[in-house]
Amino acid sequence: MNARRSVEILFLVIVPLAIFLLLSEIVLRVYLSRHIFYDVEMSRYALELKADSPNPLIGHHHRPDSEARLMGASVRTNSDGFRDDDYSVEKGEGRRVLLLGDSLTLGWGVEKEATFEHLLELRLNEREPTEVINLGVGNYNTTQEVNLLIDKGLKYDPDLVVLFYFINDAEPAPQKSRFPQLGHIRMVTFYWSRIKALEARLSETTGYREAYSALYREGNTGWARSQAALRKLSELSRANGFDLKVVLLPELHELADYAFAKEHAMVTDFLGEIGVPALDLAPMFRDEASPQSLWVAMDDAHPNARAHGLIAEYAFDFIAEGGR
């Protein structure tokens, strides 16, 4: 093969690809100006609101005093990086409650006024002055949640800490992307996301059910790490004099015959063993005829505003117990 032929083949590989990527990026951006893709929004969340934490046990945290519109909802962080108002460190006369959790507690895809954190705060204040501070950060596992409490939460001297546990909280701490700037190219996110979805359609082992269940199987260190973090949280509650409660949030795919009943039982049994009160909300969602009606979007099974309302309603008595 002579040199010119090699150049022509290279040309035919590179040029159509470059033209396609450029045109499709333009088309996709026009499409995204009117439609929302979960994976693109998550990529924007990482690029616009997340930053490296100096604490390796936390990995990433929210940028302080930042704002972005994500998954159709406005997300603003306070000076500590929490999706909440600023609170003085010095405690007033009221009760102070800290909520730990991941993107569900953060209120992903839901306006702040509709999050269960805000709804609980409103209802608790009908009984007694209460400040509820939301420490939820997307993608956190239990270890990260507990370490965020140590780093940024304990200074608020809480009376009560409520950890909102989700089935994927036993996942290992996520690894940082080697090429974060690729997230700016929508086509990269699109292909990454759709190829994952294609794999899940073609193979049951890559779906959510298998991925979450596997975290709790013998030999997987995920649940063991969560147990260690929950034990540490329990010790912190005793050492710092705050009450501790855990609420288990439902995974919103299969509610009538809950897909993770066994795993939730493992969590509540363990919490019982270490003396931490726990409330499993999954059985309370059993009669929801259409789980998808509780999702933020078809491609995003995070709880929507209605689901947040139900979580606040079902968890209220459990959280309010022991107040004044």
Binding site: E8, F11, L12, V15, P16, L17, I19, F20, L23, S24, Y38, D39, M42, S43, Y45, A46, L47, K50, A51, D52, G59, H60, S103, G138, N139, N168, P174, Q175, K176, S177, P180, G183, Y191, R194, I195, K196, A197, L198, E199, A200, R201, T206, G207, Y208, A211, Y212, Q292, W295, M298, D299, D300, A301, H302
Partner: protein
């Protein structure tokens, strides 16, 4: 030389670009279904 190649292979290029577009559209519609994968995120 590039212009010469573009001219020579314009139909090849058009066909390949259209093929990529068809594959992308197929991927888009074939996977346009309720979320079935675990939550996954970029960190930063």
């Amino acid at each position: 030389m590039i212009l010469e190649l573009l001219k020579k292979y314009r139909w090849h290029i058009t066909t390949i670009v259209l093929l990529y577009a068809v594959i992308s559209l197929w991927l888009f519609f074939f996977t346009d279904a309720p979320q079935s994968v675990p939550f996954e995120y970029q960190i930063n």
